[in-house]
Symmetry: C2
Subunit: 299 residues, 2 copies
């Protein structure tokens, strides 16, 4: 069996796996995201120590961003303009590739999560779908005609502007670039700031925060549906672990579309259009394995 490495490079932790699928993980570790040097050295040590018995064919990396995905660019594989202290202009791909002497394939965390969901999760057999994470940040990955969407750089779906009724919700939003964009209004930290510092996971299901949260998520999903016409929208990330949000979001997306887009998928009771990730919180790291596998298939 061909063995691959997968890295989900997140803003709080890096998750690394060695294996060939969700049920064939030979080794795994979690490394806190501290400085680039320290974190990357931990990651490299994990792969060196655990690949002697099973040499790796290649490694896939799904990274927080923004990242440079242009293979012709001198900063290909870098984390670029991130506001995360110390991580701006970090040559993540280069450092790993050089230390492991292996081919490394690099993409955004949400694109790799989309790949994971397509291979083993909630988007099996689909060729046009979205994976959106709503957690510390908000971002989205898209498969279109069965190919990852990169475009000029890569999408930044978390930063779309949404209707914001300041009278009903005077919260100005917390995005340092845009204030009340989707991420500024509806990310986990936005929830926490808006509701007196209580972390989102401590707010009970009957708290008014959730209706407002579902409202912004539904506006964003509606816009994504208009833009992409996806077969399915997978909503992952920490905020969506509150599964009671799903029926609320489905109902409001249905109301917003208001019959204009004619598909039975958009009726309010359908549970197979707006769905949680099939791989739970493992879409990203397993998707990094898929990225490696598809880039360097079994020989």
């Amino acid at each position: 069996m061909t063995i691959y490495g997968g890295i989900e490079a997140g803003g709080t932790k890096f998750i690394c796996v060695i294996g060939s699928g969700p049920d064939e993980i030979l080794a795994e570790t979690r490394v806190p995201t501290t400085t680039p040097d320290e974190t990357i050295q931990h990651v490299i040590r994990f792969f060196k120590e655990n690949s002697t018995d099973h040499p790796l064919r290649s490694v896939g990396v799904g990274s927080f961003g923004p990242v440079d995905l242009d293979t012709l660019s001198p900063t290909y594989g870098y984390i670029t303009t991130t506001p995360k202290p110390g991580w701006m202009n970090t040559n993540l791909l280069g450092a790993i590739q050089e230390a492991l002497s292996l081919p490394v394939t690099f993409d955004t965390d949400v694109n790799t999560a989309a790949l994971g969901e397509q291979e083993w999760g909630a988007a099996q057999g689909m060729h046009d779908f979205l994976y959106v994470t709503i957690g510390t940040g908000i971002g989205g990955g898209a498969l279109i005609n069965n190919q990852l969407l990169h475009g000029l750089i890569h999408p930044e779906m978390g930063h779309i502007r949404l209707p914001h009724d300041f009278e009903a919700d005077p919260f100005p939003g917390i995005c340092p670039f845009h204030g009340d964009c989707f991420e500024g209004l509806a990310s986990g930290p936005a929830l926490q700031h808006r509701w007196g510092g209580h972390p989102a996971e401590t707010l009970p299901e009957n708290h008014p925060c959730w209706q407002l949260e579902a409202h912004y998520i539904a506006l964003a999903v509606h816009n994504l549906v208009c833009d992409f016409s996806p077969q399915r929208v997978i909503l992952g990330g920490g905020v969506m672990e509150n599964r009671f949000l799903f029926p609320m979001v489905r109902q409001e997306v249905h109301n917003l579309v208001n019959g204009y887009i004619q598909t039975p998928l958009l009726t309010a009771h359908r549970e197979d259009f707006i769905v949680p990730p099939g791989l739970g919180n493992r879409s990203g790291v397993l998707g990094a394995l898929v990225l490696a596998m598809r880039s360097y298939p079994e020989e």
Copy 2:
């Protein structure tokens, strides 16, 4: 030389051409959009009368919508839920195909316009770009990884919801489905309704309507840039024939992005990111030719 037919099926007129490129048009006609029967009979007669000397290899149709593009669907090639009187559930493709006994390829008007721009217009050599028309209605077509985006049905980019400051602009919008979606706020008829019934083309350049119009267009373009990360955004349609809108939209998109997406293309003075169609108002009908050519290449 292989000769093709192209049809831009619009809500006010059908434009039909016979030829092989912008400079090789052998015949052309415009047919007012009245009833489906009458309009389609006109179109068929044009092609029958003008293809005796140069038999057509195939015909491409770019249609107003919504349309059914699912080749496996029993209503493939139909105009479906259009509010246009008389045109709901019209078998446009079938009627033309049967009468002409030719292969006919069918897509949305904005997708074919995007093809036209890629082949001969403002998107030559590009693989990820958007064509958005702002006129009687608003819609968008996308090429992603050099392929048309269809997804589940097809995009409806004109119906995204945008921030709408009711205090500054109390106009409720005119979209019968969504009120103040992008089309409801910024289409040609929306402009006319909002400003006392004056058609958009009669409003002078210094009228306050244009700053507001540029504002909504910029919000939409910003969202499309976040979602698709395009190499270029082509803005066509009657409203955008007011070329003074382009610098206003560029400046405001630059302000909205606010440095988050790092590319020289998004600096305010760049004129090669948000651009008018290279084919003027001919993108749609010439794109219909491209659709025919690419579906049935020269033998």
